[in-house]
């Protein structure tokens, strides 16, 4: 069947005008939302950009307008760039790995555990995977500090028990701190895609699987040809929300390493915080967070475009 060609409506003008006229009476209903958006999002964003154009200690100290001075300083700031480099690792730890593991876990729970044991066993396991998401990050951080502490941590105690003389310095060495933080982030994140993928799988028409099974398709073939394409919309949602979370990750870094050792786990949001609060370089901190916001908007936009394109391709393929 040939795919229908998409054409732009020729008489868009008059129709749009009519629909505008029709929607006018509903305008007042937009006011609360618009007000809330202005107060909660727009105003702070604009003020943040405004501060980023100043040299300012904060409080009632005088503000000095320096234009793009903070931004040009950022360009030469090694720490700023390395913090964005670390953001890439955060994306691996919060998006890539958890999504892949979550997909596999959801498929196993849905296809195997749910069918061969019972749905309640699958639900219980799903809830357990989700537990780290419920746990406050501060609590999770303390627990992981107990585990990863170089001298008294549970992990190193076990390793010493196994005869390792000098167990790794998980959070104190520049080469291991970032992988350790990534490990904790993966642990925190896994439950989120698992839960979403499991609900997505319930949406998939079982007849597709039955037909494939009759055609002799094995589990992996069904997983690849049916499961993955069918749950694409949910995958996009997970990738989008987790990428944003990874770019602005703050709390786990704060509770585990405070950006150290030697800035090896520094991320942009923590760097902004350091400048804003510790150094009282309010304008500079605001510039960091403005750049971060822009990067997030651009990346979110790209993912959104990819999602729309994929949805359109699917529509056209039908």
């Amino acid at each position: 069947m040939p795919a229908p060609t998409r054409t732009r409506p020729q008489a868009a003008g008059p129709r749009t005008r009519r629909s505008r006229r029709r929607s006018l009476p509903y305008l007042p209903y937009l006011i609360p939302g618009a007000l809330a958006f202005t107060v909660i999002i727009l105003y702070p964003l604009v003020m943040n950009i405004w501060y980023s154009l100043h040299k300012w200690k904060g409080g009632m100290a005088p503000m000095r307008f320096i234009g793009l001075g903070n931004y040009s300083e950022l360009l030469a700031d090694e720490k700023f760039w390395s913090s964005f480099q670390n953001s890439m690792f955060m994306i691996v730890a919060m998006v890539l790995v958890p999504t892949l593991i979550g997909l596999l876990l959801a498929a196993v729970l849905f296809d195997y555990v749910g069918k061969h044991f019972s749905s309640s066993v699958a639900s219980t396991l799903r809830a357990m995977y989700y537990l780290p998401q419920i746990l406050p990050v501060a609590v999770a951080g303390i627990v992981w500090n107990w585990i990863l502490n170089s001298q008294t941590g549970a992990l190193n105690s076990i390793l010493r028990g196994l005869g390792v003389d000098a167990p790794p310095n998980w959070l104190g060495s520049t080469s291991l701190a970032l992988p350790s933080v990534m490990l904790v982030l993966i642990w925190i994140q896994i439950g989120y895609p698992t839960v979403i993928f499991m609900s997505a799988l319930q949406r998939v028409d079982p007849e597709l699987y039955e037909a494939a099974e009759l055609d002799g398709a094995g589990w992996f073939a069904r997983f690849r040809a049916i499961t993955v394409p069918q749950i694409k919309p949910e995958t996009f949602v997970i990738v989008l929300t987790c990428t944003i979370a990874a770019l602005k990750v703050f709390a786990p870094v704060y509770v585990l390493t405070r950006g150290g050792p030697e800035s090896s786990t520094l991320v942009p949001s923590y760097y902004s915080y350091l400048n804003f609060f510790d150094k009282s370089k309010v304008g500079y901190g605001a510039a960091v967070s403005t750049v971060l916001t822009l990067v997030i908007i651009v990346i979110a936009g790209v993912i959104q475009v990819l999602q729309n394109r994929s949805a359109r391709r699917e529509e056209e393929g039908r």
């Binding site: 003020m47 104190g172 060495s173």
Partner: protein, 435 residues
């Protein structure tokens, strides 16, 4: 100025709601219907000497002012440290508030116009003649927020300093005595290392290691260096002694195993807990650990000695009482501060293991508490308080932590680590000087 403040408050008001920082309804010493409410913010735990002494001060204050309703609001150190500059721009502020001292803390609030100059009160109540000179340093700030000169912006009523906590049992078992020189201290350390014991409980991800570094620098320093480093009364050469000698000594100590090679990621709590658990014979840290040691050490005998080979020690006045610029009752605040400096309240401090800034240590019954207080008096008499290494410039704490981690991990030489610190110091200094 007004626009800044309003806009800033507006922004932070909306964004900080989620952080629970609004301290809603907890501030403001308002006069409603004729009754005055006097509001005090502090962040001391209930069992600390400060909290016990200030409780007595509040009772005295209430007796003098039965018409005033006194409200105390317990904050956390972190909360005030990070958010004072936001909270104090509003009108819902306390009448008097405990705050950290130094250029990067109270100095910032002073330079931001968020706290009230107290010079007139200092003269009126005689604080300027009663308090020792080295304690007054942290009370006074210039317009740029630099401590040591200018108006009084805060008043200390207790002190703190760094000394060595040691495990007497471990020393006795090793046949060692308390060292009185730096060389003797190194001999003690060598003896412990030979037995497979790491001498110092240390922490690289928080302040203890930075304070040990500064203490070693101070063994080679004099007051002029401290004034240059802390008060910018001269230039600091980061490639020369005393910094060079102190840093090299610390690097050699790390190399010789006086500090555990895996301590870069450890916190102050980890280090303190290690000492309490009897894993290390020595812990170089502050008087703020004293009450904890008394309470928690059960399995061995412990005591204290002053770091040998120096007349200068990391230490200062305790935190300050400051009066927010928007406070409603500054006169009452000054009177309350004066009460905390009274003989009676200072004696309560001393009896509970605090370090009074005024008073007589000989009246203290507990031996360890008395020795700690007498040592503090000795340091004050010798003008020996050298403040803390992270004080000079804002954000320097993180820089020092990072440099110390480099030294522990061996990822940088002493000279390289000091070059990093020098750059951050000069940048921060320029920020302060360039108002």
């Amino acid at each position: 100025m007004k626009i800044n403040r309003r806009a800033f408050t507006g922004l932070m008001g909306t964004t900080l709601l989620g952080l629970g920082l609004a301290a809603c309804g907890s501030g403001s010493g308002s006069s409603e219907g004729g009754a005055t409410t006097f509001v005090i913010w502090d962040y001391e735990t209930e069992t600390s000497a400060q909290a016990i002494a200030w409780k007595r001060a509040i009772e005295i204050f209430k007796d003098r002012h039965p018409e005033v309703e006194v409200r105390t609001v317990e904050q956390t150190f972190e909360q005030l440290q990070k958010n004072a500059k936001i909270v104090l721009t509003g009108d819902d502020v306390p009448d008097v508030m405990e705050f950290n001292k130094g250029n990067s803390t109270s100095g910032q609030l002073a330079s931001q116009g968020l706290i009230t100059p107290l010079t007139d009160y200092a003269a009126k109540y005689g604080w300027d003649s009663a308090l020792p000179a080295s304690l007054q340093t942290t009370a006074r700030y210039t317009e740029a927020g630099l401590m040591g000169a200018g108006d009084w912006y805060g008043v200390p009523n207790y002190g703190e300093y760094v000394f060595v906590y040691y495990n007497k049992d471990m020393f006795e078992q090793a046949g060692l005595t308390v060292p009185t020189t730096l060389e003797e201290l190194e001999s003690v350390c060598d003896a412990f290392v030979a037995q497979g014991i790491v001498p110092f409980a240390e922490a690289g991800s928080e302040y203890p290691m930075g304070q040990l570094w500064y203490q070693l620098v101070l063994t080679q320093a004099d007051r002029n260096f401290v004034n240059a480093y802390q008060l910018f009364q001269g230039d600091v050469d980061w490639r020369a002694d005393p910094i060079k000698a102190g840093t090299e000594r610390l690097a050699s100590w790390i190399g010789k195993g006086y500090v555990a090679a895996d301590s870069a990621g450890l916190t102050a709590e980890d280090a303190g807990a290690s000492f309490v658990a009897g894993r290390h014979p020595m812990f170089v840290s502050g008087s703020w650990w004293f009450a904890r040691m008394v309470a928690d050490i059960a399995g061995f005998e412990w005591d204290q000695f002053l770091f040998p080979g120096t007349d200068l020690y990391p230490g200062s006045s305790g935190n300050l009482w400051v009066v927010p610029a928007n406070a409603k009752n500054p006169d009452l605040a000054a009177e309350f501060i004066d009460i905390t400096l009274s003989e009676e309240v200072q004696a309560v401090f001393a009896q509970h293991g605090g370090l009074p800034v005024l008073g007589d240590p000989t009246t203290i019954e507990d031996d360890k508490t008395r020795v700690m207080t007498e040592n503090f008096q000795e340091i004050l008499d010798g003008d020996g308080l050298a403040f803390y290494p992270d004080w000079p410039v804002a954000g320097f704490y993180d820089q020092i932590v990072s440099a110390m981690q480099s030294l522990i991990n061996g990822s940088k030489t002493g000279a390289e680590a000091m070059a990093d610190l020098a750059a951050a110091y000069e940048e921060g200094k320029a920020e302060i000087v360039d108002v």
